[in-house]
Structures are given as structure tokens and as C-alpha cells.
Symmetry: C2
Subunit: 119 residues, 2 copies
């Protein structure tokens, strides 16, 4: 399945990923890959879906165009959200010392093939 | 004034910054530096303050610890938000091709001296 394959590619080629999910803004997951079994990646997606909506609203009123990526750095984690369409996104949770540059790159590269699935 | 000096340092040593502001979560600015006179940096801060609150709420429920940085990539801009305390943040707007790695670094470095002002 394309969704699982894309996530598997991101997770396996990255350093420090805990889990990855493809999710709709409604909080419904359409694929996930867990590296750390303790990672609640579904909850990560659901919680940040609300944040993405708030960022989309802000960006619209700033005429900044479509939101493509949101990167969140907290004390304990890094979260990377990459929009596929306005309604679907990939969320990745990482350890803070992970190589997020590479993960961001792999996530960006995966968008065109995912986009085809939503056409 | 420390706030203006810190922002001036970030803006002058970065490539591609349009404007920078230090703002409270209540949307009240306590300092700003504009590079592009057309940059509505106050509005950027006000709009994204709401998004930060939503991210703080999500991160709290994920036990991810305090939010330190939010990086937003849109079609037309890059926005970097660096939390100073839970109630104050620096917001920087950039052109998409700007060197955001250096700007993020300069913003991170500026936090300790700003923190002293809020003690």
C-alpha cells in the first residue's frame, strides 16, 4: 500500500524517528509506521491537526499562500507536519537530537507520489 | 533598549528577513524591526499567537514539554516563532529562499538575554 510504503521509507531512512502517520484534518489516520511502540503517533496527529487549522487560518489572513510545513520543537520532542493537500498531512515525531533535516527532506520528497493518491 | 537591540542583531545578521517582532501572547508588541516596510510583522505576530496557543495545548496533552520553536513554511513566506517564556515570543518573517538556518540559530542565541528582562 502506497501510504505504508511512503511512511516506511521516511522512517527507515531517518535518524531518530519515533513514529509517522498520514492523517486527514478530521483526525482519521490512513496509514502509520511506529518505531517506538510507546509513541502515540495517532494522538500526535489528532492534537496537531487543530494547530494546523489555526496556522492555515492565520496564513490565509496574511496572504502567505498555502501552508506546506510546520516544524515544532519542544523540550522533549520534534514534530514535523508536512501538508499533502489542504485536508491531509504527514506527521512525524522524533527525539530532539534526531537528524530532522534529513527527515524534512524525505517528507518533502514523498509529497508528489502521495498527491497522486488524492487526485 | 534591549528588545530593539536583540531584534536588530537578528535582522542584520540574517539573510532574507522581512521583519521581526517581540510580542506577548495577548498580541501586544514590545519591540519590532522592519526590513521590508511592506511587512506587516505586527499582524504576523497577532495571527500566529493564536496558533502558538493551540500548539502549546497540544504539546501539553502529549507530555512533550514546553514549546520552544515553531517553524512555518508557506508558499510565499517562512515564519519562525521562538518562545522566550510561555507568554512572550519572537516572530520573524522571511522570504522563502532566505537562510532560515542562520536566523533560527540567532533567535535561539538571543533567548537567554531576553529571559533576564522577563525575570
Amino acid at each position: 500500500m502506497i501510504f505504508e510504503d511512503v511512511l516506511k521509507n521516511i522512517v527507515e531512512r531517518s535518524d531518530g524517528v519515533l513514529g509517522a502517520v498520514i492523517m486527514g484534518m478530521d483526525g482519521i489516520s490512513i496509514g502509520e509506521q511506529l518505531v517506538d511502540p510507546g509513541c502515540t503517533i495517532q494522538t500526535v496527529g489528532i492534537e496537531y491537526a487543530l494547530a494546523i487549522k489555526s496556522i492555515q487560518k492565520a496564513s490565509k489572513s496574511l496572504s502567505a499562500g498555502l501552508v506546506q510545513e510546520v516544524f515544532i520543537n519542544t523540550q522533549n520532542n520534534i514534530f514535523i507536519l508536512r501538508l499533502i493537500t489542504d485536508d491531509y498531512f504527514i506527521a512525524v515525531a522524533m527525539v530532539p537530537e534526531g537528524n530532522h533535516g534529513k527527515t524534512r527532506y524525505l517528507m518533502r520528497l514523498s509529497v508528489p507520489s502521495l498527491l497522486k493518491e488524492f487526485e
